[in-house]
Symmetry: none
Amino acid sequence: MNTIKILVVDDEAPIRMMLRQALVRHGFEVEEAGDGSEALNMVADSMPDLMLLDWMMPNLSGIELVQKLRRDEVTKDLPIIMLTAKVEEGDRVKGLDLGVDDYVTKPFSPRELIARINAVLRRSNPAEADGIIEHGLLKLDASSHRVTIDSQLLELGPTEFKLLRFFMNNSEKVFSRNQLLDRVWSRGSFIEERTVDVHIRRLRKALEPFSVDGYLQTVRGSGYRFSANTK
Amino acid sequence: MNTIKILVVDDEAPIRMMLRQALVRHGFEVEEAGDGSEALNMVADSMPDLMLLDWMMPNLSGIELVQKLRRDEVTKDLPIIMLTAKVEEGDRVKGLDLGVDDYVTKPFSPRELIARINAVLRRSNPAEADGIIEHGLLKLDASSHRVTIDSQLLELGPTEFKLLRFFMNNSEKVFSRNQLLDRVWSRGSFIEERTVDVHIRRLRKALEPFSVDGYLQTVRGSGYRFSANTK
DNA sequence: GATTAATGTTACAGCCTTGTGACAGGAGAA
DNA sequence: TTCTCCTGTCACAAGGCTGTAACATTAATC
């Protein structure tokens, strides 16, 4: 599981601390900013996956910060959850117009906050619903999460499944180990390049009893390639 | 694709305006009603695809409106999403009993609203309407709320029933715990993902004495799948 | 053919996911 | 009220998967 980075923006250090604690406990990576302009820098620097923003802040207010982010092409889709002390009609409407993704009103429980965060993250995901991909005897059905070869069901682990899906969606192209780590393992993890080799090996072993081999090809010095052409 | 018509029922014009704006921007067709009786007329006239209903309204209240609609054969399946000012346990339960499809608590973001609307529409589509579904030895009669396996009556709790019905209506597809929470539990509250596991377990336990197992399959790392294929 | 680098294979300890039973609280019935 | 059924959560157990290291094998260059 890749770690998700959350930027906490609040002018009060104790509250940041509390939030950090709750978030870290649930496996998120946390960064902090004490005011709006600091937040802008951090967003530019490390592009978090989600921003938790206190509504009331000195200097650059929450409103302005959100406006700025929304205007920028790069950050206009950054999921933002606002923390509000209480529901004020005026603020609410403003926030809605700006495109904030969700509100959490204080006081809130850590669990609720986590649930909201997960909901927003899930929603902002483009939903990776593919269809059925076929290459020769190999058939991969993403919706049922099944792979068959010559009508025989294959047993694959999660990573092997993702790897095979990626290759079948990008056949005939060579990918370096690093590219594969980026695109199959999803960023954020620090994994040895050689790990890819091992998973390739596992995939090959799963296919071996059925096919005459040749789907997963090694391109020495460059990486691997999936090819439907037998041989 | 057909444009989808949404009826917005709220007594406050500014809020209707705001909602209209958000909905139109996402490609929906919008109609408005300022109170319950007006809403009844519009439903009769133009049969919208979904109704967005403010819980607090003068005259005909939200409760009464829903009751009336649910009693009428023509409108008893009209998807309804309620807008509530805050989560009141009592109201929520009442609403669930009446057959409201989902809740959105203010304040909410346009994105969240749109997401909920799409979720409800998606859910109401595959006609999980009453009917008899059969998969192998399993037979589920939605109208009489009965499940039999090999002609033996099964005792299921409300949640297990809904879960099984959902799976039987969407067999062979893998659903993540979160998807299941969205589509089987009316997601007004925040529920732990692992809760799904427990209900799966309860369902399996209920089926166990009869079948040779294999209906409810675990897809490690992804979720669960219902499959009629033994194994 | 020898040397060196790259890739194939295997084994394994730890982590993560899932299975499972227990339990407290809530809602409804008696 | 008290009782019963149901539900969501937790804690622990079990087992599968994963990333790495270590060793074997193959390819490339000279």
